[in-house]
């Protein structure tokens, strides 16, 4: 213990995190997944030729519904596309939406909570009352309304008419902004509580007595101290947003073809369910990767929470 005492809070948190077996394992899984997501397209590009033609995520072939084999590890789909490549490119989209969506919720949640907690009084009451109200509303319904209306606007806009690729990118941006915009409530509550208790602590009072202004107190004292909490709740928001995204994509309201996400892949698999032949690999592989990723992110978030010793909801 004496050894721990000269460490910074961040270093102590890192030591505790390393001792958490499931969290470390999850972190390694996520690193591996990221490596494959980045490395697989590169490998396809480098090898080129037949290998790329067989495994490219958008390469059609005659081998429809081939079961998993040495050539196609996860089998192929209705159009003979390699499912492994499809799952990897789906992972790319799902993770992008998740990470950017969590970032949006982080920005909104931290500023909302910090303002409420630091300002106090009537402004605090109003801001938190709004959070309470939003808590009691059907968020997923709102995301559906937002995505539908703005999605249609995008479809009719000039840029999208000129290039389909821009349309896809804008659609993804719309998804993560929409999802982030409804996922910041818990973050705002937690941050407000933290700021509220920090504000009255002795070291902040001391700093104020010495003549530090509001920006300096916020930047030097408040923000560094809520850093761990903010990171922890971002990590816990990430799987929630990925889940929402796959949920919407499954309903054909999210990512649109030809782009794939885990949700659309599973939807394709479900649409092929029939009593005659069972194409289990269409559901098992995208589903397993999705579930493994969600589990890993949850373990990671819980591990971070324990490591930073965050209390609260």
């Amino acid at each position: 213990m004496s050894e721990l005492q000269h460490l910074s809070p961040g270093q102590r948190a890192w030591r505790r995190f390393q001792k958490n077996r499931p969290a470390m394992l999850s972190a390694w899984y996520l690193v591996l997944l990221l490596a494959v997501i980045v490395g697989w397209p590169l490998l396809l590009k480098i090898c080129g030729g037949d290998f790329a033609r067989m495994h490219g995520p958008d390469e059609l072939s005659d081998a429809q519904f081939a079961p998993p084999s040495f050539q196609h590890w996860f089998g192929t789909d209705l159009h003979g596309r390699d499912l492994f490549s499809r799952v990897i490119s789906g992972a790319q989209i799902s993770l992008i939406v998740g990470i950017f969506g969590a970032a949006v919720s982080l920005v909104i949640g931290v500023s909302w909570g910090a303002i409420a907690g630091y300002a106090g009084g009537r402004l605090d009451a109003t801001l938190m009352r709004i959070v309470d109200i939003l808590y009691s509303l059907p968020t997923i319904v709102f995301v559906i309304v937002i995505v539908t209306t703005f999605g249609e606007m995008l479809k009719q806009s000039e840029i999208v008419r000129h290039s389909a690729a821009a349309g896809g990118v804008l659609r993804i941006a719309l998804l993560f902004v929409g999802l982030g915009a409804v996922s910041w409530l818990t973050m705002a509550r937690i941050i407000r509580g933290q700021v509220l208790s920090l504000r009255s602590r002795a070291f902040v009072e001391a700093s104020r007595t010495l003549g530090a202004g509001t920006p300096r107190i916020l930047l030097r004292h408040i923000i560094p101290n809520i850093f761990g909490v903010a990171i922890t709740y971002t990590a816990l928001t990430l799987p929630a947003i990925i889940l929402y995204e796959s949920f919407l994509s499954f309903l054909a309201l999210g990512v649109q073809p030809p782009m794939a996400s885990w949700g659309t892949l599973i939807a394709e698999g479900v649409s092929q369910i029939n009593p005659i032949r069972i194409y289990w690999w269409l559901i098992v592989f995208p589903g397993a990767v999705l579930v493994a990723t969600l589990l890993a992110l949850n373990f990671l978030g819980d591990g971070l929470r324990d490591a930073w010793d965050v209390k609260g909801k």
Binding site: P138, F142, I144, M153, P275
Partner: protein, 304 residues
């Protein structure tokens, strides 16, 4: 008093929500008729628009809509020509409510024993197994569970039907699918609550007085540990209602979730607005009911 104030507060809130939803859906270009064949002449198109008052300014349409709402009329669907939205709600809502209710029973019926067992055998294999099962239930989305249940119980074993909503047998797989996530959630919340209650002073006091371990856990700790589950049940009921979109979609159940998703895809804006409003009303009501139940269960809680 507090509750009356909250009910009164809900009215302007609903107005704001409906106005927001109405403008949002109206801002979207393209209407429900765009995907259809062009009418023979501009005059026909004019007449169709006039029939649905689409030629009026937005604020007037909203006013008309609100007026109808006050008469208990949600208006007409633009896509389903022969149904009013009241018909859709009358058909779909009972189905969605029954599905949600069954899933709620499953979540409570399985989740509470699971969380209780995990907490009582803390550190044992029951705890690790139960906690992992609960986490897994939270992480496996319904659209992954559903195909597996269908493949195993409907396709391979042929015990249960694949879809639709006719006999009680048709309700088994959808309810389990929808309830699974909440089993995990309830179990996790109850386990935390039990562990916290076990450390509290009144449990120590009761143990010191010589109360048996079983009575202690069931009568004292469980009662306190159930409170967070009660306060979660409001959002849970809400999520059960709005979370049934996927389940209704996969099992082809004619609930309102399917209507909302389809109307969203069809840009049938009156249906989208009405159904979001309906969801908002349901959720606000449910949350009120849960808060009320909470005050009854926990006399320490007082709202000013």
């Amino acid at each position: 008093m507090y509750f009356i104030r909250r009910i009164l507060f809900a009215i302007p809130l609903l107005l704001v929500i409906s106005a927001l939803a109405f403008t949002l859906v109206h801002l979207a270009p393209g209407g429900p008729f765009d995907s259809e064949r062009k009418p023979a002449s501009p005059i026909v198109e004019q007449n169709i628009k006039a029939k649905y008052h689409l030629d009026e300014p937005v604020w007037k349409q909203y006013g008309r809509y609100l007026g109808d709402l006050l008469h208990g009329d949600f208006g007409a669907s633009l896509k389903y020509q022969n149904h009013s939205i009241n018909d859709i709600i009358a058909q779909g809502l009972p189905v969605s409510m029954l599905l949600g209710g069954l899933a709620f029973c499953i979540a409570i019926g399985v989740g509470i024993p699971l969380g209780f067992l995990a907490a009582v055998r803390r550190g044992g294999w029951q705890d690790y197994g139960g906690s992992f099962a609960a986490l897994l239930a939270v992480c496996v989305p319904s659209f992954v569970i559903a195909p597996f249940l269908i493949l195993i119980f409907a396709m391979k074993l042929k015990w249960l039907p694949v879809g639709l909503w006719i006999t009680p047998w048709h309700m088994v797989l959808p309810s389990i699918t929808l309830g699974a996530y909440f089993i995990g959630k309830v179990a996790r919340i109850l386990r935390e609550g039990m562990l916290e209650a076990a450390q509290s002073e009144f449990v120590t006091a009761a143990r010191a007085k010589g109360l048996g371990e079983t009575a202690l856990l069931l009568k004292h700790a469980l009662r306190i540990a159930l409170l967070p589950v009660v306060s979660y049940s409001g959002p849970m009921l809400a999520d059960l209602l709005t979370g049934s979109f996927v389940v209704e979609n996969i099992f082809q159940i004619p609930g309102i979730g399917v209507f909302l998703v389809n109307s969203s895809l069809n840009l049938d804006y009156t249906v989208v607005v009405s159904l979001s409003l309906l969801y908002a009303i349901l959720l606000i009501g449910l949350n009120l009911a849960v808060d009320f139940a909470y005050t009854l269960m926990d006399p320490r809680v007082k709202y000013e």
